[in-house]
């Protein structure tokens, strides 16, 4: 091989490598990113059972049921619709009725959302940003000006 060919092959290999990495990245973004929904959005969105999503809203008052062992069921609501969620594990310290939460998981065939993680925040002033934005957009919640 001449020097020119050598250099060319190095450049082609480099570009192929970057191309593969880019392709993989966009494939992964399409496959592995999970979308955020609020209960009211689910009527219009098509979410397959088994598809990973994030479901956010407020923990509906009076719906927290503790089941066998560490399994907990509760409803997440955006004051328009509510969705039943089950979760096995330790709930975050700030998990309370009427507080904003984000749950991540997928719908089972029975329409119950099975969460494998539940997020609430470490501060009582907090409302998860996605939940706050969603509720504001629906006009059911205003930012409280406590300070």
């Amino acid at each position: 091989m001449t020097r020119k060919q050598k250099r060319l092959s190095v450049i082609v290999a480099g570009l192929a490598f970057l191309g593969a990495a880019t392709g993989l990245t966009f494939y992964a973004l399409g496959q592995k990113a999970s979308y955020f929904y609020m209960p009211g959005d689910l009527a219009t969105a098509t979410v397959q059972p088994g598809q990973r999503i994030r479901l956010g809203g407020l923990v509906e008052k009076g719906t927290i049921e503790r089941g066998q062992g560490a399994t907990v069921a509760f409803s997440v609501t955006d004051k328009q619709k509510s969705v039943k969620v089950t979760y096995t594990g330790i709930l975050p310290d700030l998990f309370r009725e009427e507080q904003g939460v984000i749950t991540e998981g997928s719908f089972g065939p029975d329409g119950v959302f099975v969460a494998d993680s539940v997020l609430a925040k470490h501060d009582e002033r907090y409302m998860p940003k996605e939940v706050a934005d969603g509720l504001k957009a629906k006009g059911v919640w205003q930012e409280s000006k406590s300070e």
């Binding site: 050598k6 990495a21 992964a28 503790r66 560490a70 501060d123």
Partner: protein
């Protein structure tokens, strides 16, 4: 005292403007006097910032609630250590720490830079002054830590309970020393672009700064990871949270910079690339600051959200990143390219390292920014988490780790892969054996686990092989070998240690992810639970009172094979009345390198408690490996070459790589 601090901060801002303008003009006009202004001004600026910081720390330590920031983030009942660390446990104070470290590094250049060419030093200090000026202005305009309250409240609102931990004393300062340390490399690069010249002394100067920044950043990230691990009670050590990524991206780019700077220093090749990498690394640090401080992300680190701050930092970001890249585009073609090398050589291996690391940085960048971009464009909200990074970052790291042991064994300019492979036979055999043993004899080992363990052993043995080969193992008598070993350059030990640490971290990650076990159950007092050969008996919940919290402490006794108690683990639910917040204190028992990790959940109506228990094999190696990597960096810094290598000051500098 508070007003003194405020005044010192304003003065420091004014001085940073002087530091930015006067030496820069002096370097262009050729005025020695004006260039000499930079040094003393940088040192004075640091002293004033330190005074300002001390004033704020004093206000925190003495619980002066007439200062708004103290009122919002402190409480008179807090232990003194948390009162002090609370100084930077909030937005305003942490920005002050940021500029304190920035001016500290500027002062270091001023003090230790006496052997730098005068114009280079002047330009470096000017760029450093410009960064300082932007952030001083940011603090004074949008996040003044000295704002007073009138009338002064009687009691404060307490520090966020999650932050009331020793981790806050260590993690942010280390992380900032790393983040901001890269500003020096950035300033050197921009200064080189302004001058249109990079010479050998440039590389010799940039490499130690990169090492220092990298060392601290490694420590800061590892400490943050360990803190999150034990404090948040979720038992995870890395969450691919955008804020974690924000610190990880400069680390990846910085690691690439560390390696390309070696090529530049030794072989004066890859000059332009190294310069670009130095700019990118600090740009990623700035991006990290923006992501964390602007409140575009929700996380433990986003203390308060104020849109004006976000816009302000975005402006700083655009100015510095855009400005430096534009300067690069204009000037880079005027810099001379360096030496040539064969693809299979030490240089080639380091280029490959850079290719993988920068691509990995780019995937992390995409994963972090894509959700923000998507939300801005379409309004759709997505989250990109571990599954994305496992699929993109993972495949990039595997081949990179596999070639690491080859690098140090290849010669400069033209290397021999077969000779290197021959020398690595023993390491390869050890890795293969570890892989087979893991795959065949360890219960529940997946292919990934066997591969991971093999790779980790490969890295560790590869690092040891490097030392053995360089001390002449097998070709000379043991006595000579020992003497050679002791006489090896410190940087060889540094490389070996850093690569060994990487192997240990990998072993910890694979061990925890592949062989970790976990149980969630609800327990009554007196019940026992068994996990991976460890038996625990729940003794019950015991209430206790802390200085500014009350807690229910769940006590567990570890029972040995003989039925006797071997020790105790306790985990607590703490309630902080001021903030009406509950936190979980996890209970950890370390067994060799592994840990038994326990955290308490909710109490049931029948007196039972939900308990989550993990067995995390080799987990401490994750952070232990990082400490070994830091030791490697420290070792490299002690290399003779870096201590005495810089050339003596000369009035007329020979333009070794100048352009005209």
């Amino acid at each position: 005292m508070v007003e003194t601090g405020h005044f010192a901060l304003v003065l420091a801002f004014a001085l940073s403007l002087v530091q930015m303008l006067v030496p820069l003009y002096g370097a262009r006009a050729g005025s020695q006097k004006m260039m000499a202004v930079g040094g003393p001004v940088a040192v004075t600026g640091f002293a004033l910032t330190a005074l300002s910081f001390a004033a704020l720390a004093t206000a925190y330590a003495s619980s002066d609630f007439s200062v708004a920031s103290v009122w919002e983030n402190s409480h008179s009942l807090q232990p003194l250590i948390y009162k002090i660390t609370g100084t930077w446990g909030n937005h305003e104070g942490s920005m002050l720490l940021w500029v304190l470290i920035l001016t500290f590094f500027g002062a270091l250049v001023a003090v230790f830079g006496s052997n730098l060419p005068a114009t280079l030093k002047a330009n470096v200090l000017a760029v450093q002054g410009a960064i300082g000026a932007a952030f001083f202005l940011f603090i004074l305009a949008t996040s003044n830590p000295f704002t007073r309250l009138n009338p002064a409240p009687i009691e404060g609102r307490d520090l966020n309970p999650v932050l009331q931990d020793l981790g806050l004393a260590i993690h942010p300062p280390l992380l900032y020393l790393g983040y901001v340390g890269f500003s020096i490399c950035f300033s050197f690069s921009v200064a080189a672009l302004i001058e249109g010249r990079i010479d050998a002394s440039w590389a010799r100067w940039v490499r130690p700064w990169t090492l220092v920044a990298w060392m601290f950043l490694t420590g800061g990230i590892a400490m943050g990871s360990y803190w999150a691990y034990y404090e948040l009670g979720w038992g995870g050590f890395w969450f691919w949270d955008p804020v974690e990524n924000a610190s990880f991206m400069p680390w990846l780019a910085g690691t690439a910079l560390l390696h390309s700077a070696i090529v530049m220093e030794k072989r004066s090749a890859l000059k332009i690339w190294t310069l670009l990498l130095a700019i990118l690394t600090f740009s990623l640090s700035l991006l990290g600051t923006f992501l964390v401080r602007s409140g575009v992300l929700t996380s433990v680190h986003a203390f308060a959200t104020d849109p004006t701050r976000g816009v302000f930092i975005l402006c700083i970001l655009t100015l510095f990143i855009g400005g430096s890249l534009a300067l690069f585009a204009l000037r880079a073609s005027r810099l001379t390219a360096g030496g040539l090398f064969h693809p299979i050589s030490r240089e080639g291996a380091l280029v490959l390292n850079n290719l993988f690391l920068t691509t990995a940085t780019a995937t992390v960048l995409v994963g972090t920014l894509y959700p923000l971009a998507l939300e801005a464009v379409t309004g759709g909200k997505i989250s990109v988490g571990a599954p994305f990074f496992d699929l993109t970052f993972g495949p990039l790291m595997l081949p990179l780790l596999a070639i690491v042991p080859f690098g140090p064994l290849l010669a400069w300019k033209r290397g021999d892969v077969f000779a290197a492979a021959q020398r690595l036979m023993a390491a390869f055999a050890a890795a293969l054996a570890a892989m087979l043993v893991t795959g065949l004899f360890v219960d529940g080992a997946s292919v990934f686990a066997a591969l991971g363990v093999g790779l980790a052993v490969w890295l560790v043995c590869g690092a040891l092989t490097d030392l053995a080969v360089k001390s002449g193992f097998g070709s000379v008598t043991p006595a000579i070998m020992l003497r050679r070993f002791a006489g090896l350059p410190r940087s060889v030990f540094g490389t070996a240690l850093a690569h060994l640490g990487l192997g240990l971290t990998l072993l910890g990650i694979v061990g925890t992810l592949s062989f970790g076990t976990e149980k969630i159950l609800s327990m009554h007092a007196g019940e026992t639970v068994e996990l991976s050969g460890h038996t625990l008996r729940f003794e019950g919940l015991y209430p206790a009172q802390g200085p500014n919290y009350s807690e229910d402490r769940g006590r567990f006794v570890v029972i040995g094979a003989d039925g006797n108690a071997k020790g105790e683990i306790s985990s607590a639910k703490r309630f902080f009345p001021v903030r009406q917040t509950t936190t979980t204190e996890s209970g950890i028992r370390t067994v060799w390198f592994s840990q038994l990790y326990l955290s308490l959940g909710d109490e049931g109506n029948d007196g039972s408690v939900v308990v989550r228990l993990w067995w995390k094999p080799l987990v401490t190696l994750i952070w232990g490996g990082a400490v070994v990597m830091m030791a490697g960096a420290a070792m490299s810094l002690m290399d003779r070459r870096l201590r005495v290598g810089a050339p003596a000051r000369r009035k007329e500098l020979v333009p070794s790589a100048s352009l005209s």
